[in-house]
Symmetry: C2
Subunit: 230 residues, 2 copies
């Protein structure tokens, strides 16, 4: 599976390399380069996911990363570059659960585990989720193309799988696209609207129980709905 591509501005091969080796062969990355880049990306994820691209400043990121602005710019010469690195990384892990949906499987365990994996993502990578949400709110200027091609193709494919389950009478006939949207919406909500969820549930119900409650609820909702059988 090729890594998701995000519209890239020219950056000598996109390697984000320090402007070290000026003309010859670009030498392998040093230990410090790898480490610092990691620290920077971590800090940038924090800031970008909260403030969005425009709202975030290099200074904020540099401070969060514990280094000076010019020092940060030594590793990533442009703000855009950091953002796009994060976006691309993110899209890759974010779509993994959808890719795993299997056509040969039975719908019940298959949907159940998709729900659960998406919910785990929201729990374990909430900043990535918010980064993506921020990009969506801005109209997806940097990923629109890939949404219309790669993502659409992937969803079309999985929609077919779901339709297969309907044809086999294993699940009720309904719109597979809106089903996928609903799963995305309900699971990502716990990352993107985390503050609201916490505020409404109150101090006490904020911990690990929250995750299990949500998982159980969503499983029941998607499989059985609210009305009692018969």
């Amino acid at each position: 599976m090729p890594p998701i591509k995000v519209k890239m501005l020219e950056t000598e091969g996109g390697k984000g390399g320090a402007k070290a080796a000026p003309s010859k062969r670009p030498r392998a990355q040093t230990r410090i380069q790898r480490e610092k880049q990691e620290v920077i990306l971590e800090a940038a994820l924090d800031v970008f996911s909260r403030e969005g691209f425009r709202g975030a400043t290099i200074d904020q990121i540099a401070e969060a990363a514990g280094m000076s602005k010019p020092n940060l710019l030594y590793y990533f010469p442009r703000k855009e570059e950091i953002y796009q690195r994060l976006l691309a990384e993110m899209l890759d892990i974010w779509l993994a659960p959808l890719r795993e949906i299997d056509s040969v499987g039975d719908p019940v365990p298959e949907l159940r585990s998709y729900l659960r994996r998406k919910l785990e993502m929201s729990r374990d990578y909430p900043r990535q989720s918010r980064l993506f949400a921020n990009e969506m709110l801005q109209g997806a200027p940097r990923v629109l193309e890939m949404l219309e091609t790669d993502l659409k193709a992937l969803v079309d494919d999985k929609a077919k799988v779901i339709e297969g389950w309907m044809d086999a009478g294993k699940i009720v006939r309904t719109d597979p696209y809106h089903l996928i949207f609903s799963i995305w919406a309900t699971t990502q909500h716990y990352a993107d609207f985390d503050v609201q969820v916490r505020a409404v549930l109150g101090k006490d119900r904020g911990g690990e129980g929250r995750f299990e409650d949500a998982a159980r609820f969503l499983e029941n909702l998607f499989l059985h709905g609210l009305l009692p059988k018969q």
Copy 2:
């Protein structure tokens, strides 16, 4: 129902009035004041809902409103003030559907119409939804307090209503809070992730049909789930 309060910075009574009448009685608003303020709020909603508070600039808003920056600042002396006006207005209309859920009603029509009203909101006020989403992503710095008091109280109240339906055996026993979250998530998704929905559905399915499809799907999902009865 008192209007939602948002943390306000001091602005001579919060009336957002032009700095006209300096000391005496503050004179009624002129026609021009009403009109221009409306234009400004419209433009600001556009920009803030896309870029978030920090990402938006007064210049952008002024240009979208077709006036100069100092002219805009004549009507709203601070950027914060515009943003908070929009937030407060928004929270009020946004929560109206939830307030309307009635304890005496039957769950089926009651939930159905709540779903539909929330979905209509996403269709008719998508920018307001994105404004709110942006505020959430930033950690709700301006509304956290009201989420923890007003909103929590309202949701607690409606959760009780839903629990009443469960006690009466009219709907399956489940977590009312997560049920409410799910309705918020699924309906608001169509406003907040509009670009993605459009991209995945393709050019053809972008129109008015989309809304009806979503409404029908969600109704079925929430009432019956995916598994065939029996």
